[in-house]
Amino acid sequence: MTRKTRRLWIVIACLACISSAAALTLRAFSSNIVFFMAPSQVKANPPSPARTIRLGGMVMAGSLHRITENGAPVNSFNVTDGQAAVEVHYTGILPDLFREGQSVVALGTVQKDGGFTASEVLAKHDETYMPKEVADELKRTGKWDPRFGKAPDAASWDTMTAKKAGG
């Protein structure tokens, strides 16, 4: 075994591993990438029910209600970005930091009727902290301009979003 053949073996092994890693990555990307959408984007062009998306926005104040279905609790609430609201249905225990009037990110699919079935609901661990996607969306829709100070206090989201999104 000369130095050259050894090097050849190593190069072959590297290429085999890296190309299979690349192939796996691409394949996994094509089927598993999850796009973030704001409620207004969902309303404008609803994604197919087969596609998992992340829906983010503020939980509309007063929109949360619970029912029990086959012994399991189903939570329904509206998520809004100030332009449109989407009704989210989630079976399970909402996270500890879930609050009306605060930001939330839900993972799930958009149903035919326009509702959203969440498999996972995320609220951030720090209650003053807003998910970046939600902050960006608020800036884009003109609800908050970072040049004029910090994001409005969590408590004021209630009135702010509930009023505008209702109509």
Binding site: R6, W9, L24, T25, I33, P73, I93, D96, E127
Partner: protein
């Protein structure tokens, strides 16, 4: 004595000492001035002393409730239990950076203390590099995140700590994880010193390996502890979320594992030298980037402490300097390193090369999955995310050949292996794995868990049979076997243990793929069944804790009418922070975890219903147990190294004592 000003001063002093430690030995090594180089150990120890005083001062501020210190006021409260006053010091950004530099100081002092058998110039250079990194982080701490800043007027009480962080598991998770991250600074420093020197040989491999193994042990423990914390605190029954911050710890673990293995080839066969140097640089670079990702908030995560652009820019500059500088040095000096001995593809070296390639491929996949979303956001403006499905689909197929190779690798001899002989060595392990496969078919569902489970059994069986074969089972007497097992190097025992640990972890992961759960809403007295067990909600009562109010449920679990256990999950309401936390109740028999969570109460009086989340998690404890076994294996291998490296010196002193 230990007030905030003293702490601040000690930190500044440490920073100056670190700068001197960076410049003077390097200059001395360049000018071949032995006296300047010999200053390095002294400087490293004094730097540690200054840092220890600084850190102790911050702890004293927190213990004495000195709310005139901004950091204490923001993160502590008078009513907080003493343990969390102390551990809360590193539960926030400023304190954790200080802890980071303290651990780096400990590493430097450890090299100074245990590196007496190193050549002076090499030790001087290693300490200088550590001093440079240390100085950078201390400057960061002093300039952008000073933990000793005063606030005026001082508040009466602090704002309190995030209740989620008030947990013994999390209290000790950061120091252990940081020791792992920072520990890789030592192999990094060795790599840079070797590049400066232009020489990497077997001795270098022998010196650098214990440090890499030690850091790897801590990182393994830190990751396992973090995963365990999220399992029993967050209350989702999940153990790994492929969160960017978790990935940031997994990435250096993967390259660190590769480093630990490739350094063996340097030590034993003088091969893979350039590659090992590169791995040492890469591992520490990933550790640093991990901190950067956590601290800067570039990646959205539950762990982000602060979104402060000044800090981000500073850290980015520091990263560019350390990583860019070391890579430039590598590009410049690596070609001058000569490559080592020859080996055939089927040999111990060959299997270690394969191990490295596979680990680095997995690492590349994880890096891609972690970095792609922020880059997409930056370049295309689309917010996307990738989660568990992506990482599962992309990494598990690469893990399968890795597990296969783990079993074969230890059975192969150095340089060249004879296939027939290797197969005969592995015959028993293969039979055990085949039995394991049948067992997995019976217990697990899904192709990947079955395959991975069987391979995990294969790895464990191969490790055990390898040790037994080397001890001489079957062809020697009991006493001879005992003698042989004593003579077997500790590093062989360590490697076998670490591989068994990896097998245990993989089995745990396979078991967890069959976890079952149910979310139910029931009245007190009602029963629901999950996977053959009957869960009855016996009672729910409220009580007041030291700084929270709690609702506690009593859930009895019966199997065929026989009482297994009663769980007491809680929901706590922390009034200071207006935050609720979930206290999970777990019953484990080390085969299956029964895991109960109590959620909201709806309605009042006798009509009230409670939302419960019930989980049955097979083999869950094995995931972390395996991590612990891996770390113990590493520690075992360390004890061998110490004896061997220290032996000549020790022998000499004993002879002198006798004379």
């Amino acid at each position: 004595m230990f007030g905030p000003e003293q702490g601040h001063f000690a930190l500044a002093l440490a920073c100056v000492l670190a700068l001197i430690q960076f410049v003077v030995p390097l200059w001395g090594a360049h000018k071949r001035n032995a006296r300047l180089v010999a200053l390095a150990p002294f400087l490293a120890v004094s730097q540690l002393l200054a840092l220890a005083i600084s850190f102790f001062s911050l702890i004293m501020c927190a213990v004495h409730d000195d709310f005139s210190v901004q950091n204490v006021a923001a993160n502590s409260a008078a009513s907080k239990p003493l343990l969390y006053k102390i551990t809360g010091v590193w539960g926030n950004h400023e304190g954790s950076v200080l802890l980071w530099t303290l651990i780096l100081g400990v590493c430097g002092a450890a090299v100074a203390a245990f590196g007496r058998n190193l050549p002076d110039i090499l030790r001087g250079r290693v300490l200088a590099v550590l001093g440079g990194v240390s100085a950078g982080f201390q400057l960061f701490c002093l300039l952008t995140s000073n933990p000793f800043d005063r606030v005026f007027p001082a508040p009466m009480d602090g704002q309190g700590m995030n209740p989620l962080l008030q947990d013994p598991g999390l209290a000790f998770h950061p120091p252990i994880l940081y020791t792992g991250y920072v520990g890789f600074a030592v192999p990094f420093a060795f790599a840079v010193a070797a590049l400066l020197e232009g020489r990497v040989d077997a001795a270098w491999g022998r010196w650098v390996r214990p440090w890499a193994v030690a850091a790897w042990c801590f990182l393994t423990c830190g990751i396992a502890l973090g995963s365990w914390w999220s399992y029993y605190v967050l209350g989702w029954g999940g153990y790994w979320f492929w969160d960017p911050v978790e990935n940031a710890s997994l990435i250096p673990w993967l390259t660190g594992t590769a480093l630990v293995h490739s350094a063996i080839v340097v030590e034993k066969r003088e091969g893979l030298k350039i590659w090992t140097v590169l791995l040492a640089i890469a591992t520490f670079s990933f550790s640093l980037s991990g901190t950067f990702l956590v601290r800067s908030g570039i990646l959205n995560s539950v762990h982000a402490f602060a979104n402060d652009p000044a800090r981000g820019v500073f850290i980015l500059g520091l990263l560019a300097l350390v990583i860019g500088g070391s890579l430039a040095l590598f590009a410049w000096r690596a070609p001058s390193l000569t490559s080592g001995g020859l080996f055939s593809p089927v040999s111990r070296e060959g299997s270690l090369v394969l191990n490295n390639i596979l680990l680095c491929s997995i690492c590349a996949v994880v890096v891609t999955g972690t970095m792609y979303p922020p880059f997409m956001q930056l370049l295309a403006g689309r917010t996307i995310s990738v989660g568990k499905p992506f990482f599962d689909a992309a990494t598990i197929p690469l893990t399968i050949p890795l597990l296969l190779a783990m079993g074969v690798g230890t059975a192969l001899p150095w340089k060249r292996a004879q296939l027939a002989r290797t197969f005969s060595h592995l015959f028993v392990a293969a039979i055990i794995a085949a039995v394991g496969l049948v067992l997995c078919f019976w217990k697990f569902s899904g192709a990947l868990p079955i395959a991975c489970g069987a391979l995990a059994i294969w790895v464990m069986a191969a490790s055990v049979t390898d040790i037994l074969r080397r001890v001489g089972l079957g062809h020697s007497s009991m006493s001879e076997m005992l003698a042989r097992s004593r003579n077997l190097p500790r590093s062989s025992w360590g490697a076998a243990l670490a591989h068994i640990g990896a097998g245990i972890t993989v089995l745990g992961l396979c078991g967890m793929s069959g976890a079952q759960h149910a979310i139910v809403e029931i009245h007190v007295g009602e029963t629901r069944s999950l996977a053959g067990d009957d869960w009855t909600l016996l009672n729910v009562h409220d009580y007041a804790g030291p700084n929270y109010r709690a609702m506690q449920a009593d859930i009895a679990i019966r199997h065929n009418g026989r009482l297994i256990t009663t769980l007491h999950p809680e929901k706590r309401d922390f009034t200071t922070q207006n935050q609720t936390t979930t206290e999970v109740a777990i019953h484990t028999n080390f085969i299956t975890d029964l895991y109960g969570v109590v959620g909201d109460r709806h309605g009042t009086g006798a009509d009230a219903t409670y939302v419960l989340r019930l989980h049955r998690n097979p083999l869950a404890p094995w995931m972390w147990l395996g991590g612990l076994v891996m770390a113990i294996g590493g520690a075992f291998s360390l004890s061998d190294r110490r004896l061997r490296v220290g032996a000549p010196k020790r022998a000499a002193t004993r002879n002198m004592a006798q004379a």
